[in-house]
């Protein structure tokens, strides 16, 4: 699928913003990953931040070290070089345990019912209904059945936005809250529009709340084995597979976290966009196999 022409625009005198596509698509995300990775490899003096994000990317530069027009030209040139090549990504798949329909997000969502489209049901019941799924269990199956791409990390430190690796017709779509909540438990699994996320810190939020993970994803103290290298777990391009767990498994995992022993299943994988587009089910099955 073609994604049309990229749109280049300056964000003041220190940023170039490139919108690869107005709408979200895997093709746009992949193109952004390819261009930003190529830019990163070049180690261009004066480039200070390289941020891929969903269907666009942002570069911050120092115009005293690289001229603004040259910066933009370089990005346009990189877009041409990346071109229509088959986009491959050496990445990793991470299994994230999720306690769906947990008591903590439920308690929180009950406090903010008047800000919700449907005050008489829970967020996950509402999401199941607007996606024409017959039950909450069927919704959990749809949410956790196929893996997701980390298509952006940000808003706040370490927060991943995730886009599911399924055909557009099967994408879960849910509106955000009518008015944002002032509170969201840390490590809530949220969803707004076509994106899921994991709230890395407690705070305000407008995404529907489906569950909670016991796995810390952002810890400045870096106590857990998988956070030793860096305080944020996720990077754009990571693949996530949700694993539904129950209360008992959740409590056991929290104990492990408190003891500093908790670890995640993380495996290296290769992802090819053309192979995925040709046969999504088979590609996903192979990805998930890496976790067994």
């Amino acid at each position: 699928m073609a994604i049309g022409t990229a749109r280049y625009t300056f964000g003041g005198d220190e940023h170039v913003f490139v919108e690869l596509s107005e709408e979200m698509s895997l093709e746009a995300f992949f193109k952004g990953m390819a261009i930003t990775s190529a830019l990163d490899r070049r180690k261009v003096p004066g480039v200070t931040e390289i941020c891929p994000s969903n269907a666009s990317y942002l570069v911050r530069f120092d115009p005293d070290r690289i001229r603004a027009d040259e910066m933009m030209k370089l990005l346009q040139q990189l877009e041409k070089e990346v071109g229509a090549a088959d986009l491959q990504l050496d990445t990793r798949i991470i299994e994230i345990p999720v306690y769906y329909n947990d008591p903590w997000t439920r308690e929180t969502l009950m406090r903010f019912r008047e800000r919700h489209q449907d005050p008489n049901s829970t967020d996950i019941e509402y999401a199941a209904r607007v996606n024409k799924l017959p039950s909450v269990d069927a919704f959990i199956e749809a949410h956790s059945g196929s893996p997701w791409f980390v298509s952006m990390v940000g808003f706040v430190a370490g927060l991943p936005f995730l886009y599911q690796l399924v055909e557009r017709a099967r994408q879960i779509q849910v509106p955000k809250y009518l008015r944002p909540r002032t509170d969201t438990p840390k490590l809530t699994i949220g969803h707004g529009g076509c994106f899921s996320c994991i709230y890395s810190v407690r705070g305000a939020g407008g995404y529907q709340m489906f569950g909670i993970t016991p796995a810390p994803i952002f810890e400045p103290s870096q106590g857990l084995p998988y956070l030793k290298d860096f305080m944020c777990l996720f990077r754009p391009g990571d693949i996530v597979k949700w694993k539904p767990i129950d209360r008992e498994q959740y409590d056991a995992a929290v104990k492990e976290v408190e003891a500093g022993r908790f670890d995640l299943k993380i495996r290296p994988v290769q992802f090819s966009l053309s192979k995925f587009l040709a046969d999504p089910a088979r590609t996903n099955a192979k990805l998930v196999e890496a976790l067994t």
Binding site: G12, F155, R168, F195
Partner: protein
């Protein structure tokens, strides 16, 4: 040591900031008024990037347990040494046991208190700046509280009282000012009428103005063009597929109140940005109190770069004068 007797409204440890991690949502942080921050350090003979205290609107009350040389720059909020008013924009000797407090803030919004030797907190990802949303950096990842104790380093050879900043080199603190804007990003989504109104209206700083973003109000609401919302963008016409936010970018959720992101920015989200305040004007935003007024003025890239060169030159003069 410095004992915090009263913390003030929002006093944090800040330095030049923490670039390089915006791709995982960790913003620059650092002193919002970088010019005044550097001036404070140079006055006390520090490296200009040493960590200082950024004091917002209401200053703290601090007891020094060892002799020190300090300087206060930025907002007009004079220091008081055991109750006696001291000078702004000047290095001052503080004897061990002295309580340093502050007069109320007459003009501006952020004062910078530098201590010779620099505020000594651990560096995190290369910076001592506080990042509040992530709860790391600075003093235990948060603003100061009563009962905290801060250490400071050994004063450098240039630390002495009586150094004064030329008044022409102090931060200007107008209650009404112009902020220069490069339009772009999603500006094309705003109607012609609203594009004109945005630059015609006078905007006041709302009470919700902090290190993350400055919110403005009292201008006309912005209308967005009729446009089918793209897949994944959300239903409000001000929504886009979530994207990275430049520092200084202006977003207008629901078309109502423009928000300019500053150094503790949320790194991305789903609101259309209509333009970006130029780098040379970011320090001026930091000195705006609630109800101060701004007019946005459209400029092109060459004017933005000329303003940036002027800013750098002014900084060079500051360095030369206080060398």
């Amino acid at each position: 040591m410095i004992e915090v007797l009263k913390p003030g409204l929002a006093t944090t440890v800040q330095d030049a900031g923490r670039p390089g991690y915006y791709n995982v949502g960790i913003p620059l942080s650092g002193a919002l008024d970088q010019y005044s921050f550097r001036a404070a350090n140079l006055l006390v003979g520090n490296d200009e990037n040493a960590a200082v205290l950024e004091c917002t609107l209401v200053g703290p009350e601090l007891r020094f347990t060892r002799d020190a040389v300090i300087a206060v720059t930025g907002a007009q909020m004079a220091p008081k040494l055991d109750g006696a008013t001291g000078a702004l924009n000047e290095s001052i000797a503080v004897k061990a046991g002295t309580v340093v407090s502050f007069d109320f803030m007459r003009l501006g919004a952020r004062a910078y208190l530098a201590v010779a030797g620099g505020i000594d907190v651990p560096t995190v990802l290369g910076s001592r700046s506080t990042y509040g949303l992530g709860a790391f950096g600075g003093f235990q990842g948060r603003k100061l509280a009563a009962g905290d104790t801060l250490s400071f380093g050994t004063p450098g050879a240039g630390a002495r009282a009586g150094r004064r900043l030329d008044p022409g080199l102090a931060a200007a603190l107008p209650k009404e000012l112009e902020l220069r804007v490069l339009t772009g990003l999603y500006w094309h989504r705003v109607t012609d009428e609203s594009q004109a109104a945005f630059f015609e209206d006078t905007w006041s700083v709302a009470p919700e103005a902090d290190r993350i973003g400055y919110r403005y109000r009292h201008g006309r609401a912005l209308q967005f063009r009729d446009h089918p919302q793209p897949f994944g963008a959300g239903s409000d016409p001000s929504n886009i597929v979530d994207a990275g936010y430049p520092y200084g970018s202006i977003q207008v959720p629901g078309g109502l109140e423009p928000i300019i992101l500053h150094r503790d920015a949320v790194s991305g989200g789903g609101y259309a940005m209509i333009g970006t305040v130029i780098s040379a004007d970011m320090d001026r935003i930091a000195q705006m109190q609630p109800n101060y007024k701004a007019k946005f003025v459209e400029v092109q890239m060459d004017a933005a770069l000329a303003a940036r060169a002027d800013y750098k030159q002014r900084l060079q003069r500051l360095r030369a004068e206080l060398a």
